[in-house]
Symmetry: C2
Subunit: 119 residues, 2 copies
């Protein structure tokens, strides 16, 4: 069973965290059944990244793709997220846990921006 | 002459600001000639939003679309960016200066995420 864990930074502003949860629900609906789609937060909101990975595994996931919802390749993407993921990889050697490219690296992001700008 | 001003938060990490500048260069190339495409930063990097708007106007812009490169509809999008834009609207009543929806509101963002997740 494949699973995707959308990882956002997390905010003191609860509405921002809820935006991520609502986005996750929309993405889950688009992926359809037979796949798990959850979200987690690096800080300031729940669940944490390890708890989010565990949630996927408890749901039956044999693969977890951690998907960084970040615009730039800063310390959070380069270090903090891998540091949160690594202990779960050690804890669950039978589950394939990987980290995908971060959102800001996507060429489709350019399409989104040009559409918003009115193309 | 239309112009688009991509507005990012700005970072102490210079590489993150350069990522925005490189994205701006790619978007400018995609839009082609006859249009102005610049970037600006809410804080921590140059140019500021007013300076970015002025740069568009100095380049001949009669329309400026401010495009918020932000994932959530927080205070920065709801208040800080409009507060930076407003004095330039007053200063240049002959230029149509508007603010588009922010990146996080785009449905194409979902496509970008699903592609990164491996669809």
């Amino acid at each position: 069973v494949k699973s995707i864990l959308l990882v956002a930074h997390g905010s003191r502003r609860q509405a921002s965290n809820d935006e991520v949860r609502e986005l996750t629900a929309r993405l889950r609906a688009r992926r359809g059944d037979g796949e798990i789609f959850e979200c987690a937060f690096l800080e300031l909101a729940e669940p944490s990244i390890p708890d989010g990975i565990q949630r996927c595994i408890d749901g039956g996931a044999t693969e977890v793709t951690v998907l960084p919802y970040f615009l730039s390749a800063g310390r959070h993407v380069a270090e903090d997220i891998p540091n949160e993921v690594r202990p779960k990889q050690v804890e669950h050697p039978g589950v394939r846990i990987t980290i995908s490219d971060y959102l800001g690296s996507s060429a489709l992001l350019e399409d989104a921006l040009l559409q918003l700008a009115g193309d």
